[in-house]
């Protein structure tokens, strides 16, 4: 078994934390994990991408080849699209809907979301909105982990434990909000009628 994930976003959105949570959960499940991270210059508001590879055997390359990713988790819709050429046939893409508008030539957001939804297995989710409702607007990345969790080769319970480990030292309130964000993300993706309603709205407007 191998499962290759690309996590994409903008510097400051918490791309690397997603990798840390998922790889910790994978290790707890007896899998191996290798994550290739981007540090430095791009973290200043630029495009940030992380390659996360999970397998039940030795993992060689730290990076995923084009056409090799089983899942893309996008914290930002345009950034999700940037790596579509890494997606395997049969791979899924889950993207947050909220754009980060820090470039002058950002295309119309409807066009971006539509492009995602027209992919064979493209899904969008209002991650920031869900995070805000869960009580931690900064936890959109954890909402995305929740939205992605049923696609991962790891039990949701293990991911929940990894999130609890990551936030335990940050105080009760943040821990609770992040666990709520995780569960809300998972629920939103499981209750397809809510997502479908939104997607239909985007596709028809």
């Amino acid at each position: 078994m191998k499962f290759d994930i690309i996590v994409a976003g903008v510097g400051g959105q918490g791309v690397l934390s997603i990798g840390a949570i998922v790889s910790a959960a994978a290790m707890r499940s007896g899998l191996r994990a290798v994550q290739s991270e981007v540090h430095g210059m791009s973290q200043r508001g630029g495009a940030v991408v992380s390659h996360l590879r999970l397998a039940d055997r030795e993992i060689h390359s730290p990076t995923i080849a084009h056409g090799g990713a089983d899942l893309i988790i996008g914290l930002e819709p345009l950034e999700s699209l940037r790596y579509v050429d890494f997606l395997a046939a049969g791979g899924s893409l889950i993207s947050a809907t909220e754009p980060v508008l820090n470039i002058p030539d950002y295309p119309p957001i409807e066009e971006v979301l539509m492009s995602i939804l027209r992919l064979p297995r493209g899904r969008v989710i209002e991650a920031t909105k869900i995070a805000r409702e869960a009580g931690a607007v900064k936890a959109a990345n954890v909402v995305m982990v929740g939205a992605a969790v049923d696609f991962l080769p790891v039990d949701a319970a293990e991911v929940r434990c990894a999130i609890a480990d990551a936030f335990r030292s940050k105080g009760e309130r943040l821990l609770g909000a992040n666990l709520a964000a995780f569960e809300a993300g998972q629920r939103a993706m499981q209750h397809r009628e809510l997502v479908d309603e939104f997607e239909t709205f985007v596709l028809t407007n």
């Binding site: 903008v10 510097g11 990798g19 840390a20 790889s23 910790a24 290790m27 191996r32 994990a33 290798v34 994550q35 290739s36 991270e37 981007v38 540090h39 430095g40 210059m41 791009s42 973290q43 200043r44 508001g45 630029g46 495009a47 993992i59 060689h60 390359s61 730290p62 990076t63 080849a65 084009h66 056409g67 090799g68 990713a69 345009l78 950034e79 699209l81 940037r82 579509v84 050429d85 890494f86 997606l87 395997a88 046939a89 820090n102 470039i103 002058p104 030539d105 950002y106 295309p107 066009e111 971006v112 492009s115 027209r118 992919l119 064979p120 030292s169 940050k170 105080g171």
Partner: protein, 535 residues
């Protein structure tokens, strides 16, 4: 040392963190560095995990010299830097190969192929070769740990500095690492003057010893487990040489293609010549795949018979610039790699930018207003977050070459007759390499303006503290002779931009050397310290 970092359990570690932990477990007494991507996390991890001094230094040269002094006193030391930092430390590095280190001296240097966060992609293996010191090149974070441990042993065994060459994808790769039992620190030792005073008489003797030692060191690399040769008797057309990280791409692609060519992996240098010749005896063509410059490829010609052909970066079979990946290796084997889905629409680039509310923006707004009044002003810039000012929408800065170059280049351009000339440099870059060229400008009473953007931290690499407090920077500038009436410290704020504009207008118009230090703390550092206080 906290219990959680010792023992044989597997932990997820960055390559950089693996180096740091291995250095601690090797019994270092101190570590020295200047921040630089992708090597920064080595010292950060040491400071976080360890109970040994982990010190940010003025620059890579002073860092290296401190590690050398530690070694002379018998103790083990790690010094870490990015690849271009070794240019700054080249003087002590080259000469440290002529003395005889006592405590293990390991230089961890991180190259940046593909220039993710750098101005070039120079290959540090040439420096190891140049200085004639052994070099270890890990293939993954586990090897980064194991090789760092070994590097200290090799250094003490041969009494020579040892280079650990990392690349970005090792430094910033997080994977499971198994650690081994820690070792105690060394005791203090006394050094022999003849080993350390590089007067010509001593230096000649020491250098001759080094040359003679080459055979012993070659014996080590020939028999090292890091250099592994696998011969395939049923396939004689092609042999492959990989180095460091590239082994992972090779293993991935050869498994996908079902290829099992004869293969030599090199992780320890000098190049194991006997193993290379064994491979060459076995095949008619050798494909060399290495991250960085074609170092092994170029050395190969002198080692193997002329009828064995060599393919690689020099031959054009592999791109000579940028980072390698699986796709490049597929193509090197003559197979078109798989394609992913087509990207359904044009995706605009998203380059890094100054943060919203960044204090540099105020300074650049004021500077832009003044320079707009001149026909052909020149702004030489330097290395740091403020380099991003060269991009739209700010568009300030005509150059960025190496640490401190803004000041020397401004002087040169002013002497060529350009008016006005402004050098823009950050506080930490100024302390790293800006003071010496400023002395030149003082000596020449150059008609230029120095603009120091002081935000209290080394922002680009993760807001490490600047070595000296802000207040000392003005003392330095005045102390080396910038006239006090033309040296100003300005506490910046967006509301004070008009005032700053007026000050810059006056000093840029001044027909001699002037300096304006614009101070305001980095917004990212302020955010981090608020967060730290809250938790």
């Amino acid at each position: 040392m906290p219990d959680d970092v010792v023992g044989a359990e597997v932990r997820m570690l960055l390559g950089d963190e693996a180096v740091a932990l291995a250095a601690l477990h090797s019994g270092i007494s101190a570590a020295y560095a200047y921040p630089g991507t992708p090597a920064t996390e080595i010292l950060e991890a040491l400071a976080f995990h360890g109970d040994k001094p982990a010190t940010w230094c003025a620059n890579e040269k002073t860092a290296y010299e401190q590690a050398l002094g530690m070694s002379m006193a018998g103790k083990r030391a790690l010094v870490s830097m990015k690849h271009v930092g070794l240019n700054v430390a080249a003087d002590p590095f080259m000469n440290s190969a002529v003395v005889h280190p006592i405590g293990g001296l390991v230089l961890a240097v991180a190259d940046d192929p593909g220039m993710h966060s750098s101005q070039n992609e120079q290959d540090s293996r040439f420096y190891a070769d140049f200085a004639r010191v052994p070099c270890l090149e890990p293939a993954d974070p586990q090897q980064a740990y194991d090789m760092t441990r070994e590097a200290f042993e090799v250094s003490e065994c041969f009494r020579i500095p040892v280079m650990l060459r990392l690349v970005t994808r090792i430094a910033h790769q997080r994977a499971g690492v198994r650690t081994s039992a820690p070792r105690e620190e060394n005791a203090l030792a006394e050094s022999d003057r003849a080993d350390w005073v590089l007067l010509p008489g001593f230096a000649r003797r020491n250098w001759r010893k080094r040359i003679e030692q080459r055979k012993e060191i070659a014996g080590w690399t020939e028999s090292s487990g890091h250099n592994a040769l696998t011969l395939n008797d049923s396939f004689r057309e092609l042999g492959v040489i990989t180095t460091g990280l590239v082994r992972s791409y090779f293993l991935e692609v050869s498994a996908a293609l079902g290829l099992t060519p004869s293969h030599l992996h090199i992780g320890a240098y000098p190049i194991p010549a006997l193993l290379v010749r064994q491979l060459a005896d076995h095949v008619s063509e050798i494909l060399v795949i290495e991250e960085g410059y074609p170092y092994v490829e170029r050395m190969l010609r002198g080692l193997i018979p002329p009828f064995v052909s060599i393919r690689g970066k020099e031959s054009g079979d592999i791109p000579a610039d940028g980072e390698l990946n699986q796709e490049i290796v597929w193509k090197a084997f003559g197979v078109e790699p798989p394609h992913g889905l087509a990207i359904p629409m044009h995706v605009a680039e998203r380059p890094p930018r100054l943060c919203d509310g960044c204090p540099h923006i105020d300074a650049y707004n004021a500077l832009t207003a003044v320079l707009g009044e001149y026909e052909s002003p020149l702004v030489t810039s330097d290395i740091g977050c403020y380099t991003l000012g060269a991009l739209p929408p700010i568009g300030v800065g005509q150059s960025c070459v190496c640490m401190g170059a803004s000041i020397g280049m401004a002087k040169g351009a002013a002497e060529a007759g350009v008016r006005p000339v402004v050098a823009v440099i950050g506080d930490s870059t100024f302390l790293h390499s800006g003071i010496t060229p400023l002395m030149d400008a003082v000596a020449g009473n150059t008609n230029m303006t120095l603009l120091i953007l002081d935000n209290d931290v080394v922002a680009m690499t993760g807001t490490q503290p600047t070595l000296l407090p802000s207040s000392r920077i003005a003392d330095i500038v005045r102390g080396i002779g910038v006239p006090p009436e033309h040296c100003h410290v300005f506490e910046s704020h967006p509301r004070r931009t008009a005032e700053l504009t007026e000050l810059l207008r006056k000093e840029i118009a001044h027909g001699g050397l002037s300096a304006v230090i614009v101070h305001r703390p980095c917004i990212e550092a302020a955010r981090q310290s608020r967060k730290a206080r809250a938790s």
